[in-house]
């Protein structure tokens, strides 16, 4: 089972990772913002992640690390 670690201060909330995640494991948490004021991508713990790393591949801010 995979796992995604979000470097929250690097994330700008563009949402590219949300679109490529087939399992829907990532979401933008509108209740939290980083120091730059962006809603950040958040990894949902309660769904199955295959660790395909497409989210990290498409992230333009190198904000995601994937573990499997």
């Amino acid at each position: 089972m995979g796992r995604v670690a979000v470097k929250e201060e690097r994330c700008k909330g563009c949402g590219y990772c949300l679109e490529v995640c087939k399992e829907g494991n990532l979401y933008l948490d509108s209740t939290r913002r980083n120091r730059s004021g962006y809603s950040v991508a958040t990894f949902s713990e309660d769904k199955v992640c295959s660790g395909c790393a497409l989210c990290a591949e498409i992230c333009p801010d190198v904000a995601l690390e994937v573990y499997r």
Binding site: G15, Y16, I58, C59, P60, D61, L64, V66, Y67
Partner: protein, 249 residues
């Protein structure tokens, strides 16, 4: 299972520093920086790579890549890179330029650097607009595209047609590699990674100039959300700028 017990399958490349990118949300410059860093790591070039940066949003490359860098005047990166490569033949010289830099004020420099068969690598980011200066029309702006200097849309009669740089450079005998790739999907990013390696390989094997053109999104100056901008890239830009390898050694 805790994260410490898992194997890391995707991480930031070693040649990329920890500095946070200054780019706007959804901008593909950061992705191109990462691909460049990955390729530098792949060929183990970090100790001898010298980056030459044009003027544009990519101008702070020296903050993000852990290699020596040199700033050049607007459009003159291939000329500065020529000097660095000729005086340090063992170095690996890569320029990082946008379309306002390479395809406008620097057209002369890139054409003659390619024609002289300089062993340098050119990373050319094409987002069809002048990004840093506020969204003016670039030579790569699409017909009908609204910019701050073409508020009614670019009119080919009077404003000109988009310049297809990869095809143009591929016609020169000194060019070893010229390809155009896109950054908007993971499949295109994988193709871009392969093309980036070939552009580096051209210099490593001293075959001549290697150029990779990357179509990228500029949500801020296109006045779009990141999602709208990648859809525009796919639907409109690729029609005008066909993807492919135009010269491979």
């Amino acid at each position: 299972m805790s994260i410490a017990a898992k194997k890391r399958v995707f991480a930031s490349p070693a040649s990329l520093t920890d500095n946070k990118f200054h780019f706007c949300p959804g901008c593909h410059h950061g992705l191109v920086h990462r691909l460049a860093a990955e390729t530098i790591d792949y060929y183990d070039l970090s100790s001898k790579a010298i980056g030459v940066i044009g003027v544009g949003c990519g101008v702070f490359l020296y903050d993000y890549l852990a290699i020596d860098c040199c700033e050049s005047p607007h459009g003159r990166a291939p000329a500065v890179a020529t000097g660095i490569k000729r005086s340090n033949p063992d170095s690996f010289v890569v320029t990082y330029q946008g379309d306002g830099d390479l395809a406008a004020i620097g057209t002369s420099e890139i054409i003659h650097a390619a024609n002289r068969q300089e062993s340098i690598t050119i990373i050319f980011v094409n987002n069809s607009v002048y990004g840093m200066t506020g969204g003016q029309m670039a030579p790569t702006t699409l017909p009908g595209q609204k910019t701050t200097t073409t508020p009614a849309g670019r009119q080919p009669v009077g404003d000109g047609y988009p310049i297809n740089v990869a095809e143009l450079i591929s016609t020169l005998k000194g060019t070893a590699f010229a390809a155009r790739v896109a950054c908007h999907s993971h499949t295109h990013i994988r193709t871009a990674r392969k093309a980036m390696r070939r552009a580096f390989q051209a210099q490593i094997e001293k075959r001549g100039l290697g150029l990779i053109e990357l179509l990228s999104a500029c949500p801020t100056n296109w006045r779009m959300t990141p999602q709208q901008s990648v859809r525009r890239l796919e639907a409109e830009m690729i029609n005008t700028f066909p993807l492919g390898t135009y010269k491979d050694f």
